[in-house]
């Protein structure tokens, strides 16, 4: 059946309700969005209908399961944010590729996959990671360089094809979130809500497995309840990740009870 232009337009208008409820097939959605781009009146109508469906949604609110917020906040801590639109430059990236790498976080806590898009440009990623986690707060260039090198390593793990996220509960308080990549033999560790230790002591990470017990780095002091991210490399098959409280300059062997033991 051939539709006249006028009836096609009327037809598109009618779709506003179904579209605002996501009750359209993918091809319909695409067609309607093309129409929206040209029809200010339709865009206005859809916006007001979206406000309406949002209220249908909030009417269905229910309590969030325990621990979900903590996992999401911890995952955000290792997720790069999109930069805002640059009003002066149409192509904002400093150098390198504009391609976007997709990483897939599988997880033990909630099987399945979650898509995170990270920056393709390493420089941008490094800066953002540094800024997000406050490591660039210091004015000292050396510290920034160090942070950038570490952020680059972190970005490599986060963008690995086999990147996996796991969370664990720290005995004595706090939640640990790690993203690990077997192919990169490394993991990125962050924690939330760890108890502050006296200045003479610090948290130390350990890799424990068939290859022995190896120190995997001291955690920096937390900021606003967040600790890390830090990178632990030299991951071997069969390793566990453990956390202990040690003297501030670290130990060669864990001397105190493990506060976290995560199977990797």
């Amino acid at each position: 059946m051939k539709l006249t232009k006028r009836s096609q337009i009327r037809d598109a208008h009618t779709l506003a309700g179904a579209y605002a409820m996501d009750a359209v097939s993918a091809p319909d959605r695409e067609r309607f969005e093309r129409h929206l781009a040209e029809c200010e009146e339709c865009a206005q109508e859809v916006a007001s209908l979206r406000e309406t469906t949002a209220m249908l949604g909030t009417a269905a609110a229910e309590p969030v399961p325990a621990g979900l917020k903590e996992r999401i906040v911890a995952a955000a801590a290792v997720t790069r944010q999109q930069p805002p639109a640059d009003e002066t430059e149409p192509v904002p990236l400093a150098h390198g590729t504009r391609a976007r790498a997709r990483i897939w976080f599988g997880s033990l806590a909630w099987p399945g996959r979650l898509t995170l898009v990270t920056a393709g440009a390493a420089a941008a990623a490094v800066l953002a990671v540094a800024v997000v986690f406050g490591v660039a707060n210091s004015s000292m260039q050396q510290q920034i360089d160090q942070a950038q090198a570490s952020s680059q390593q972190i970005a490599v793990v986060l963008t690995a094809q086999d990147a996996h996220m796991t969370t664990g509960t720290v005995a004595g308080g706090g939640t640990a979130t790690i993203v690990m990549s077997g192919s990169r033999h490394a993991l990125v560790f962050t924690a939330q809500g760890l108890h502050a230790l006296p200045a003479s002591r610090g948290y130390e990470l350990w890799l424990i497995g068939p290859a022995g017990t190896r120190p995997a780095g001291m955690l920096p002091a937390g900021s606003q309840g967040m600790t890390g991210p830090v990178i632990a490399s030299g991951l071997r098959p069969g390793d566990h990740l453990a956390l202990t409280a040690e003297p501030a300059d670290g130990s060669a062997h864990p001397d105190t009870p493990m506060m976290l033991d995560m199977v990797l």
Binding site: H13, T14, L15, A16, G17, A18, A20, M21, D22, A23, V24, S25, D28, Q44, E45, A47, S48, L49, R50, E51, T52, T53, A54, M55, L56, G57, T58, A59, A60, A61, E62, P63, V64, P65, L68, K69, I72, V73, A75, A76, A77, T79, R80, Q81, Q82, P83, P84, A85, W110, P111, G112, L114, T115, L116, V117, A128, V131, V132, Q224, M226
Partner: protein
């Protein structure tokens, strides 16, 4: 919604259809502007405010609690990631987040479940209006939504609940209710316009 003043990220290109039912004293748009600057505490506050709504609507559509948690996480991380893209000139912050949430939930069920299996299950399912309402607590906004849903004709209400709370396309709703697709499209639009007017959302 309270005015957010200097925290608005962009000038308003046109009047925003503000959400009149936002709890007083909270400013989701302002918090999202802070999230765009990477503030973890603001993200926490955003979750406190809208997380239960996101989880609730996602679970309505998906049903499976574990998958609903997963999609809730995807939605909230999307909010974290793209907070800088939120444009207060184009709608309320709640509508922005809830649109992300609903669309992602719908995309999940459509990609995961085979259509035929879904339709078979739908055919034996009750029309969900009562069930949508059953868990309703005595919050004012819920009460208003409930009252406004109640003011729709039965066919309008069925079309809205099947589409929004179940995640069906208008084509699926049409076959379920045994009416032409054109009729369902019209009903959905009429129903939402009526809901909008009943809830006092500006046009």
């Amino acid at each position: 919604m309270t005015a957010s003043g200097s925290q608005e990220p962009r000038n308003r290109a046109r009047p925003a259809p503000a959400a009149p039912a936002a709890p007083p004293g909270t400013d989701l748009a302002g918090q999202i502007a802070l999230v765009a600057r990477g503030e973890a505490t603001a993200f926490d506050a955003v979750f406190e405010q809208i997380g239960p709504s996101v989880f609730g609507v996602v679970k309505r559509v998906i049903r499976d609690p574990a998958q609903s948690e997963e999609v809730t996480q995807e939605v909230m991380l999307e909010v974290w990631r793209s907070a800088s893209k939120f444009d207060a000139g184009r709608g309320s912050a709640a509508a922005w987040v809830m649109t992300l949430a609903h669309r992602r939930a719908v995309d999940r069920v459509r990609s995961v479940q085979k259509e035929a299996e879904r339709e078979r299950r739908v055919a034996v399912a009750e029309i969900p209006f009562d069930e949508v309402i059953e868990a309703v607590e005595s919050s004012l906004e819920r009460e208003r939504v409930r009252r406004c849903l109640g003011s729709l004709t039965e066919v309008q209400r069925e079309s809205v609940t099947l589409a929004y709370y179940r995640g069906y396309t208008y084509g699926q709703v049409a076959s379920l209710l045994g009416v032409p697709t054109g009729t369902v499209k019209t009903r959905m639009r009429d129903a939402l316009i009526r809901m909008r007017d009943c809830l006092g959302v500006p046009e």
